[in-house]
């Protein structure tokens, strides 16, 4: 740490010196001003150290200006509000902000992992792949935990996130990405058309780097011009401006995702309940990418030392925050732009000299620097840097292009270096949406080329670096986008502004600044700072045969991680090009993938957490179930009452009680979830004959029939009771989970295959509340309620239907039974469901009625050997497999699945067939899904011969029962099967008929 004052006495366009705040960094209290970033605040306090690097744990400081920052990643906030891996250059300060450095242990200045650096000769590119290869089992338990501890970024927050997040969709005519000079100009031109224009910018203020740009527009400096245009856009009725909003992805058809940090900068907003982040899903007719350019670092020995930063970042520290990067620095460049930085530094009294790798260059900025007395060393490079936690001196050497190593150097004391290796247009979003790119010799970088979508790139993002050309290009793009989005948009004539800007000499590429030995010990030439990839690593990868740049990327991790190669990409390609003798276009580029910068999981989840994580469907009786101590079971998105456990009961005893009440007295089940579909038309009967395996055209009006449905493959897909309401009118019941699927399935056949059928299908599941009243006293309940129709067994036998009033409620009553008892399913309009439910309970009270849940329902039906689609079937089960061959019509010409049943495989002798199982020990309940084995062995693998599909304790039979699909099961009655289960236990069970109770069906016909 230094005692030198790094906060300049004046200046700083972004800070408000009248508003003092205090932040803490690694527990140290630091004074700052409103408008500072964590980066500027820490540097203003004389510290340059922000973190340790990923692999070698080298000390690192701030390099960049904004989202391209790869070193100074900090964790912000405490506990549940902690967020790791934020770029210190983007985090705006507020009073009480807590930030911590990352990837250091035990402290930032003394780090144990830095030993990695000492032993770095043993940690070459591909080290992890080479070392942690064997044995395989070590990966999960030894290597991975070790690597994760040693390498890595910040830690995850603790506890539940207290903040809120949300999504929003928006359509616009023109979306401009980037609010710098180009983006503002394009947005203004598009705005004049009156169309809907959006402008998204990732910074707190619009303007990009206009404030750091030399020159003037119509007499105003570039920054002021940008401010004025920004003001016009904020005021416009047809524009939506988003600040602190990063476009993280750009997909086909101009679908873009914008990550807006709504409240991170202001705890008061968070406290008021403002969503912390908002994720925008934008569909834009036209997109204009004005994403600017990212400055390139230069690859020289120890170029990662704290105090070495990009030239624009150094300028911004001075201009925006009034923070000096040091007292005596070097500007190291291969282009004219960095001369602006030198001039700016000199203006505020910071010592500076320029090292320029070009042999000679003539531009107005160079002349100005020399005339202002700045020492300029042309044809020179920084060949090495001294100092470890900061810069103490630089070594300067003479250089000519292609030079391999340096012979003589001179040492110059300095405490910071501002470097500029040129600018790379930010092509990420262009490439996300499959835009092609081409190499530009003048820029020594890639720039946008062909594309297929409605998008344009303007300004620095398009490789246009000077102000006058940017203004013209951006305006034209705005007008063109508006015209393309809406042919009637009026064009705005371009008034050529008067632009004054310095002339610039061309840059010369500098991919690698040589040192005395090429890669001598301790001198690392970093290409990818975030992943600790050096020029030597890249060359090694080439020598080892990783010729494709995509292979090199994965082998060395160059261009990966959170910064996705923003600063490293082109330098890496340059090093590879020089190593292989190929050109950069021949090397190619790696793929740009979303997101442009990382965004929060909270924003991805939006409001869809907790109670909104999954849509939950509630029946009209849901609240009663809740109030009555029900536990719930998910059936699709429904929640159904599983059992009602009273005081002094366990779930096991309450389930048994419910079952016995149905068998002995009467029970009441909420079956509202059952799928209900009205089917009507002259061809309805024939249509049903084709959908079901059995025949419905012979069903008489007022009668019910159980039907089986197969898919085209001959496999069971649904079952249920269908009622003939009238000659041309049916009501189909489906399984609860199948309601939507079967309705869609019916529509699909009507709309795509059997278009000649005149049939309407209207799903009405939710119109009805439906209850089963089941048990020997069920009819008594109906009688007690008072029915306006004849409920006698003779007039209303099993499998028939009545419509009328019950207890005054309008009802449809189906005498059908899934329990094997005398049973009535009663349907009433949903809003009356709760009323009828209460009326039934009241009427049944003296008859001992008890509500029962889905588990009792399942045991009751298993006692009767009734199948459940999805339990006894698994998508490869035919009606024959489950013993329902009798429901397959032999008379009908055709129905879905008929032909498939003729396949030899489905007729094979050894198919699994549905059987019942009785365990030798009656108290043993087989686990669901337990496998029967052909022969028992000490340990798996054992040959399997079938599996348990349903298994319960039956209180009716006072023993366990199970159903199973067993190979050739029906021919093996009486055989005992062996089921090895967990804990070396073996259960033996005898194959029996799957109907355990009331085989004659006397009870349901009572």
């Amino acid at each position: 740490m230094s005692n030198k004052p790094y906060r300049l006495l004046e200046g700083g366009s972004r800070i408000d010196r009248s508003k003092r705040v205090t932040i803490s960094f690694d527990g140290r209290q630091l004074p700052a001003f409103a408008g500072d970033t964590v980066a500027s605040a820490v540097m203003a306090n004389g510290s340059k150290l922000f973190g340790r690097s990923f692999k070698y744990h080298r000390p690192r400081g701030v390099v960049g200006l904004g989202s391209e920052e790869m070193n100074a990643l900090v964790g912000v906030g405490d506990g549940a509000r902690h967020e790791p891996n934020l770029r210190a250059t983007q985090v705006e300060v507020f009073d009480g902000l807590h930030a911590v450095s990352q990837n250091r242990w035990p402290s930032l200045t003394f780090d144990v992992g830095a030993l990695n650096s000492r032993f770095s000769r043993f940690l070459p590119g591909g080290f992890y792949y080479k070392t942690f290869m064997w044995p395989q089992s070590f990966w999960k338990h030894v290597y991975e935990p070790l690597i994760r501890k040693a390498a890595g970024l910040g830690r995850a927050p603790e506890g539940r996130d207290p903040d809120t997040y949300e999504h929003i969709h928006v359509h616009c005519d023109v979306l401009v990405v980037g609010g710098g000079l180009a983006g503002l100009t394009a947005a203004k031109a598009a705005c004049a058309s009156g169309l809907k224009v959006m402008l998204a910018d990732e910074n707190p203020e619009l303007g990009g780097i206009a404030d750091l740009t030399a020159g003037s527009i119509d007499g105003a400096c570039v920054g002021d011009h940008a401010k004025a245009v920004a003001g016009q856009l904020y005021a416009a009725e047809n524009v939506h401006v988003l600040n602190r909003a990063t476009v993280v992805g750009h997909w086909h058809h101009n679908y873009l995702m914008i990550f807006e940090r709504v409240a991170d900068h202001d705890p008061a907003l968070l406290a008021a309940g403002t969503p912390r982040h908002r994720l925008w899903k934008v569909r834009a007719k036209q997109v204009i990418l004005a994403t600017g350019a990212i400055e390139r670092p230069i690859t020289f020995a120890n170029n990662d030392r704290p105090g070495i930063m990009l030239a624009t970042a150094a300028s911004a520290m001075v201009e925006r925050y009034g923070v000096s990067p040091g007292v005596n620095g070097i500007v190291f460049t291969n282009n004219d732009n960095a001369y602006l930085t030198a001039l700016g530094l000199k203006k505020v009294g910071i010592g500076v000299r320029i090292v320029d790798s070009r042999a000679r260059a003539e531009g107005s900025l160079i002349a100005r620097a020399i005339s202002e007395g700045i020492e300029v060393s042309m044809g020179s490079v920084v060949s090495a840097v001294e100092g470890s936690q900061g810069v103490t001196a630089a070594r300067i050497a003479a250089y000519r292009r292609g030079q391999g190593r340096v012979i003589t150097e001179r040492k110059i004391d300095c405490d910071f270096i501002a470097m500029s290796g040129g600018f790379n247009p930010a092509l990420h979003l262009w490439c996300h949406n499959a835009g092609k790119i081409k190499f530009d010799e003048n820029l020594q970088s890639f720039r946008p080329d062909r594309h297929h979508d409605a998008m344009q790139a303007v300004g620095a993002a398009n490789g246009t670096m000077d102000v006058a050309a940017t203004l013209a290009e951006a305006h034209a793009a705005g007008v063109a986008a508006a015209k393309a989005a809406n042919g009637k948009a009026k064009a705005v004539k371009y008034k050529v502004p008067e632009v004054k800007e310095p002339t610039r000499a061309p840059l010369e590429s500098l991919w690698f600044a040589p040192a005395t030995g090429k890669y001598n010990e301790g001198n690392k030439h970093f290409v990818d700072f975030q992943n600790d990839v050096t020029a030597a690593d890249l060359e090694l990868a080439q020598r080892e045969g990783y010729e494709s740049v995509e292979h090199t990327k994965r082998y060395t991790t160059f261009g990966m991680a959170t910064d996705q190669g923003k600063t490293s990409n082109l330098n890496g390609l340059g090093v590879l090009a020089e190593a292989t003798g190929k050109s950069i276009p021949e090397i190619g580029v790696t793929t740009f993938r979303p997101p442009y910068t990382p965004f929060s999981f909270g924003s991805i989840a939006g409001v869809l957490t907790k109670n909104l994580f999954l849509p939950i469907r509630r029946t009209p009786i849901h609240q009663w179930h809740l109030d009555s101590g029900a536990t719930f079971e998910p059936i699709g998105q429904w929640r159904r009452a599983y059992t009602y456990t009273g005081a002094g009961e366990t779930k096991h005893t309450s389930i048994n009680r419910e079952i016995l009440s149905v068998r002995q007295k009467v029970g009441l089940l909420d079956a509202s979830t059952l799928g209900k579909i009205e089917i009507k038309g002259p061809d309805a009967a024939e249509f049903l004959d084709r959908m079901y395996t059995n025949t419905f055209s012979t069903l008489k009006a007022g009668k019910c029939r159980y039907g089986l449905m197969m898919n085209e493959l001959g496999f069971l897909t649904d079952d249920g009771v269908t009622v003939r309401l009238a000659e041309d009118h049916f009501l189909m019941h489906t399984t609860s989970g199948g309601a939507d699927r079967i309705a869609a399935w019916l529509e699909e056949w009507l709309q795509t295959e059997w278009t000649q059928y005149r049939v309407f299908v209207t799903p009405v599941t939710e119109q009805w509340a439906q209850f089963a009243i089941a048990g020997p006293r069920a009819r008594n309940v109906l009688a007690k309620l008072g029915a306006d129709f004849d409920i006698s067994h003779e007039a209303f036998p099993h499998m028939s239907f009545k419509e009328g009033k019950l207890g005054g409620y309008p009802v449809r009553v189906f005498r059908i039974s899934f329990s094997g008892e005398q049973s009535y399913e009663v349907a009433t309009p949903a809003n009356m469901g709760r009323g009828l439910w209460n009326a039934i309970l009241e009427a049944g009270q003296e008859l001992g009625i008890e509500p029962y849940g889905t588990e009792a329902l399942h045991v009751l039906r298993a006692e009767k050997g009734f199948i459940v689609i999805g339990d006894e079937t698994d998508g490869t089960t035919t009606p024959i497999d489950v013993g329902l061959e009798g429901l397959i019509s032999k008379k009908k010409a055709d129905f879905i699945g008929k032909r498939s049943l003729e396949q030899s495989f489905l007729k094979a002798p050894n198919r699994k067939q549905l059987v019942g199982l009785l365990t030798e020990v009656p108290t043993d309940v087989l686990p669901d899904g337990a496998y029967a084995v052909r022969a028992l062995k000490d340990k798996p693998p054992m040959e399997m011969t079938g599996q348990v599909t349903s298994s319960y304790h039956s209180p009716t039979l006072e023993r366990s029962i199970a159903m199973a699909l067993i190979e050739n099961g029906r021919a093996r009655m009486g055989e005992t099967l062996t089921f090895p289960i967990d804990g070396n236990k073996v259960i033996r069970a005898k194959i029996v008929d799957p109907v355990f109770y009331d085989k004659e069906g006397a009870r349901q016909n009572a």
Binding site: A230, H240, P620, Q767, R834
Partner: protein
């Protein structure tokens, strides 16, 4: 005969507070689902005789006559809105009048919950759960749209410029209600396009 107890899907919900829009359940709406062939003149005439209106053939549109409104749902399906007390009668009248004409009229008054959303910013609230371009001219008063809302199926009816009815299946009423409570909070109010205060 005892009084019948009737309960709307959201009867157990309190009126919400601190929302940026006005949100309530409409409980007195009757609904009839009507299927038929729009090119069948006999069908259209019979429907008109009962409803007093020409069923709309233009996609996403609606037509009103007195207290009856017909919403276009698809090329052969309409949702007829009427006072709840009239729905059963209307469904029966349609069935009787349509006779042997291929059609299907079902009283579905209890099948959906109807949520009334009202106020400035109602479109923005809906855009937090829908990818439709609700700010476009397609969503003028009278427009009808079946949509994916939040994670569920819904039906949207633009009643007035800042008044929307959202129909969701009854079982999802609580989910939709809670989604609206979460996205319509006063603190998360947002206005899309228009004059802005600038960065703050």
């Amino acid at each position: 005969m005892p009084d019948l107890y009737v309960e709307s899907p959201l009867a157990h919900r309190n009126s919400p507070e601190r929302l940026s829009i006005y949100l309530r359940e409409i409980k007195d709406r009757g609904m009839v689902d009507l299927r038929g062939i729009a090119s069948d003149k006999k069908f259209m005439a019979a429907a008109k005789k009962v409803l007093g209106l020409d069923l709309p053939k233009t996609p996403h549109s609606s037509v009103s006559w007195g207290d009856v409104k017909a919403l276009w749902l698809s090329i052969d399906q309409w949702l007829i809105l009427c006072p709840r007390a009239k729905a059963a009668e209307l469904a029966a009248a349609l069935t009787a009048e349509l006779g042997v004409i291929h059609s299907l009229a079902v009283d579905v008054s209890d099948m959906r919950a109807v949520l009334r959303l009202e106020g400035e910013g109602v479109r923005e609230v809906l855009l937090k759960g829908s990818s439709l371009d609700l700010l476009s001219g397609d969503y003028k008063p009278g427009a009808v749209r079946r949509m994916h809302y939040a994670e569920i199926a819904a039906l949207l009816h633009v009643v007035e410029d800042t008044v929307f009815d959202l129909y969701v299946f009854r079982s999802y009423a609580d989910y939709a209600w809670e989604f609206l409570l979460a996205t319509a909070r006063e603190a998360s109010k947002i206005k899309l396009f228009g004059k802005q205060a600038g960065p703050f």
